[in-house]
Symmetry: C2
Subunit: 722 residues, 2 copies
């Protein structure tokens, strides 16, 4: 069985023989480790650390001197790497001997060194360098005072007498790590360094960061290896946004900065409270000038993200864009504060997931990946995470992820938004994104107007319903034609007023252009059935369609936001009170029923609160799958009680209020009405499910009122109007 | 600087010390290679081959004995692995000594062996085993006859006197390779084996395949290691569909079969010509019973796919589903006939892309990946591809892909369809997929009816246009209300007949539910402007909306296919000739203009061909961004010439006809009319762009006819009808 291993003569075609020349011995002779030209993979992984970085410690000798950015951080990580056999315990000379034979056995020690002033000033202002340098000359009491002053708000910093020196080594460690990766001494590498860097700005230390290690290293590599290292991807998975890195390269076309972080609409560190409109970490921050599209923020809307969300971000955004960018070097700004166990971060990324993210990034740049420690404050969590990353760098298969973690829906929506925002800059982000400005240039119209026109046509054909006359100047144009009424409304003895959301649309758009084929788009509408039933039972009907959105001509966002609830509420209030004051108040119907569907049920709430209508209303039926709203009034103490007794509020089965016992208790209070948990979800499904129930309830209230309270008897409409 | 490497006392928190116990020496003692429990990655990669598999050769000694499935295939691959230093040239004993010290230096030799009858019959019928066994007993002339008979159609097979023995070793090699991976003797492995297996059915040899190596190996691993190897992912990237694997595990919940192959609607091997409705490789084949959802076909619509499409398939489908399945073992059915250079496959996958796909799969199952050779017939291509795969298995970073390859649009659509088809079975496929059956259960209506209703309402309000009366029994219901006409049509002196596609819709649906907000959905319509203009200029207008799709109540496909052009053409022909025969033929208008927009311009073609209308038509204007159609007639030889002189056919700037010189020449022939390349793309944009041009052209033809041919002078409509 050995002939195919040692060569054979059984060859019928020889056309590739030249390619098959034996180049087993072709090696890179200049490097530390002799390696076949085609086998960079057998180079060792590098690791850079230096105990001098532990000398940066808090000078604030107050009653609670502990600070999360503690010297023990790198100590713990290094001990863990050692305990797991990744780090050799003997001398450098012995290590080198071993690695030349067995390159994957241990990590190669990359020596750290102090960065120079020139190196640091590639991305920092000389005055900033001098400020940090000055710390080493300050007396201890002054440092103590400074630390306690800086440990506030956005600064969030401490300083000590050795801060300058430690910071120089941290930056120098990052430089040496990246250089070793670029020049091929090692396959890839990890720098276990501190203080971290990614918050440090051009001219300011902040967020535990003095010098911005990763940008310095990236700049030095680009300068010293202009051929080999032109394009750098910096992937920042620290739970905080790396404002410093973003700002340093915001207009740089050759540095792609991708950050995955908790954003919370700017409320999470380092959001800018002084300029809340544009915190650095927002997803709309895409770079500028030549760097447009080279800044990608995946800023979670809340804490609590874990493997499912990070894997999703990598699959949907990070890896497709990274492939398209095709970097020469990947630097990971590896904070481990999104790790499961880090209380500051409040996220749940497992060591396994860090391994998988590392493994994915290792497919880029011929495997040239340099990992630089940033934040991360739970010693156990950062150690386990860093171990997983280092093992993966060394060629260990990433361990299996815990399966079937549910993807957070809002995170999935955020990812889709990031895709829409990056679509102009990246081919791979374009499929499935609508260019709203371009559609407007083609004279498009929003579909909600089209649909309401069709509804009006349908209700007119079937029931002769017509638009109600409304003084237009008091209302936005969006409410035009939104109110349809049955003919002879004023002589109806029974009225049903339905305030509803527009019908639901579901579509399977073309995956590339998002063009819809109308025949693949479906409209689902639960209201028509109720109108048909009401008219068949001689109700007069007022059908009020409330658009989700009040059109503003300047909106060009592909995801036009859901309506500003306050503005919409003001509009609905104007409309519904207008209808009440001008039409219903003077109406002498015996029975008036209100029905609210979806977010539009807000209209029912504002009518009940703003007009004293209790005595005129025979019942209220609401279908809710969004915000549940209380009906109460400071003026009318009986309102909530009346509402409870005279309403049925169907709430979707998957509504958040059922998941939380406190919330459930709350919605059973009087002011939320008689709340009923539906067996189903979705407005249309709910309306169909409870149709019989509602009919019975309405008719039951009707006859009892007619029979007992007003004694109208059981006459039919025909008899009354005969 | 050595203290952090060798341990230190600088620790302020000790809470994780127990976890940090030094377990450097904990090894798996049973294995061939001692390895730290936490470092499976330093095990060697295995490789299995055996020269005896070359003994299966074509017994058909005809004038052209060469067969693509040639013994040289494995010879070339092994030589290439050797030439690149992946395979040791010395003895097994020396290799073992080296690997114990330097596990990544060479691949470990996994010995092949003959599979047993029992092993093979885990997936094959005993009669099939006996049939193959019988080949070894047949005389050469009989084998020759059999080979020449089998080398036809779907059988596509050759046999020889050593076929049985070689097939046993091929299957045994696959078994040993997978077992070595599962039991952890090696990190991962590649089996360079032949004959291939994936076409072989339970009871039939076909497609160069005798025994189905990979299913046999999977079954044996599941049986022998029930704990360690319960769930197996078989990823088949051979360019042909692995019908045998699919059918053997079609109802098996523990084997996920994913195949990426050329399908061509069943026309590509091994499509089933005897049952063209359900060729095995169709994307709708999802498994059955307990195996429902465990069969995934990514069947390309055509050849020519390359890195962009394969990476896209991996990013969008393969990896998300594989993570969700979470296999214990990954087997790659690795045909290299989709490789760039393989003429049979006609695809362009590079060695780099094979490396990346391998690297991605290595993130699964704790890295337990076994690669088994299937097809691939260009010796150079398969050797380079196998080398890239083997290097990646050994820990080499995957080489960079050639950047910015354009993704084939139809391939992207196919991937989206696969997502829709798999959505019921995989959580990760669900976001963005519409469940049509569920929408129907909610009583939805297709949006095209809604839109047409709105258009009708609009044209009625603005121009008093009304539906034309049409005998319904001769036409499908879909054409109801699709024809609107201006009032007093019969007295109009000038007519414009517009046959158009429905307006375009563009939407940004919710990324999870595909629910549309109508305010985020845009309708773009180029026709209304022309109608307004025509009516302002006293034209009578017939507006014919041609739905893309004729509704069939039983369709539940999220992507209802674009219309069957033939059926649609028959319908349009019925409609347009009905209108001509009943309304226009007897009309005495001086000028009739025809306008065709989009696919509906088919209507213009069928009218011109099926009725002799030349003398009545003053001009034809078409806007085309889909199929360009010739207007010619065997009966009327002058028709094409007349069409050329009396038409303007605006063709989208990005139409395929401009990309190819032959095609361009062709569309400038008379029968395509006067074809004009537009500066823009998209029907609506084109109609806006050429609005002025069309007005001028139409008015120019009008006045000349009126002035010269019929001498009507320049009277206005008012004067005429005064």
């Amino acid at each position: 069985m050995t002939s195919s291993w040692t060569g054979s003569t059984f060859i019928r075609q020889r056309r590739t023989d030249e390619d098959l020349a034996d180049d087993d011995d072709a090696v890179i002779s200049g490097g530390l480790f002799p390696t076949s030209l085609r086998r960079r993979g057998i180079l060792p992984t590098g690791c850079c650390s230096d105990p001098r970085m532990k000398l940066h410690a808090n000078a604030d000798f107050g009653p609670n001197p502990h600070h999360p950015e503690d010297p023990a951080r790198i100590e713990y990580i290094m001990r863990t790497l050692k305990a797991n056999g990744l780090v050799f315990k003997g001398s450098d000379a012995d290590l080198l001997k071993i690695l030349k034979k067995e390159p994957a056995k241990y990590m190669y020690r990359i020596p750290a060194r102090e960065a120079t002033r020139e190196e640091i000033c590639t991305v920092h202002h000389p005055q900033h360098f001098s400020w940090v340098e000055g710390l080493s000359k300050k007396p201890t009491d002054e440092l103590r005072l400074l630390s306690s002053k800086l440990d506030q708000g956005r600064d969030s910093l401490y300083v000590g007498s050795m801060t300058f020196e430690a910071s120089l080594i941290s930056a120098g460690g990052a430089i040496e790590t990246c250089k070793h990766v670029v020049n091929g001494t090692v396959k890839n590498a990890i720098a276990v360094i501190r203080p971290p860097g990614h918050h440090a700005e051009f001219n300011q230390a902040m967020g535990f960061c003095l010098f911005n290690n990763v940008p310095i290293a990236a700049k030095i590599c680009q300068t010293e290896y202009p051929e080999k290292c032109r394009k750098v991807l910096i992937l920042d998975w620290d739970v905080h946004h790396g404002n410093g890195i973003q700002n340093m390269f915001y207009d740089d076309a050759n540095i792609l900065y991708i950050s995955i972080h908790v954003y919370m609409n700017g409320a999470f560190y380092p959001g800018k409270p002084d300029n809340p409109m544009t915190p650095d970490g927002g997803i709309e921050m895409c770079g500028a000038g030549p760097g447009l599209g080279k800044n990608i923020n995946i800023g979670w809307h809340e804490q609590g993200m874990g493997d499912a969300e990070y894997m999703h971000a990598f699959q949907k955004i990070v890896m497709p864009i990274a492939y398209e960018f095709d970097p020469d070097l990947v630097i990971i700004s590896a904070g481990f504060d999104a790790a499961d166990g880090d209380e500051l971060g409040g996220c749940f990324v497992t060591p396994e997931c860090y391994a998988h993210m590392t493994h994915m990034l290792m497919s880029l740049a011929n495997g040239k990946v340099a990992v630089c420690l940033e934040g991360g404050y739970n010693l156990e969590a950062i150690s386990k995470s860093a171990l997983a990353v280092a093992q993966t760098l060394m060629g260990e298969p990433p361990p299996r992820l815990e399966p079937n973690k549910k993807l957070n829906k809002d995170a999935a929506r955020l990812i889709a938004k990031v895709q829409a925002i990056q679509a102009p800059y990246w081919e791979c982000m374009r499929p499935g994104i609508v260019d709203v400005q371009d559609l407007k240039d083609q004279g498009s119209m929003r579909l909600h107007d089209v649909i309401r026109k069709a509804q009006r046509q349908g209700l007119q054909e079937k029931h002769n319903m017509i638009p109600m006359y409304i003084h237009r100047d008091i209302l936005f144009r969006s409410f035009e034609n939104q109110v349809l009424v049955t003919p002879g409304l004023f002589s109806a003895r029974k009225l049903l007023i339905i305030v509803h959301d527009p019908p639901e649309l579901h579509a399977q758009p073309d995956p590339l252009t998002n063009r819809l084929d109308a025949h693949n788009t479906y409209m689902v509408d639960g209201v028509t059935e109720y109108i048909n039933w009401a008219i068949a039972n001689n109700f007069g009907v007022i059908d009020i369609n409330v658009p989700h959105y009040i059109t503003h001509p300047q909106d060009n966002d592909a995801f036009t936001p859901r309506p500003n609830e306050k503005a919409l509420q003001a509009q609905i209030q104007d409309l519904i009170t207008y209808i009440w004051d001008n039409h219903l108040q003077i109406h002498d119907a015996d029975n008036i029923f209100l029905m609210g569907v979806g977010n539009a049920y807000l209209g029912i709430k504002v009518l009940l609160i703003n007009r004293d209508v209790k005595s005129r209303i025979s019942g209220v039926v609401n279908f809710v799958n969004g915000n549940l709203r209380p009906v109460k009034s400071d003026v009318d103490q009986d309102l909530s009680g009346w509402y409870k007794e005279n309403s049925r509020v169907y709430v979707a089965n998957d509504h958040a209020c059922w998941a939380d016992a406190d919330y459930t208790r709350k919605v059973h209070k009087r002011r939320f009405g008689t709340v009923i948990r539906s067996d189903v979800n979705g407005l249309t499904r709910m309306m169909r499910e409870h149709f019989g129930d509602v009919q019975q309830w309405v008719m039951g209230r009707l006859s009892s009122e007619e029979d007992e309270e007003e004694g109208h008897g059981d006459t039919t409409e025909e008899e009354k109007f005969a």
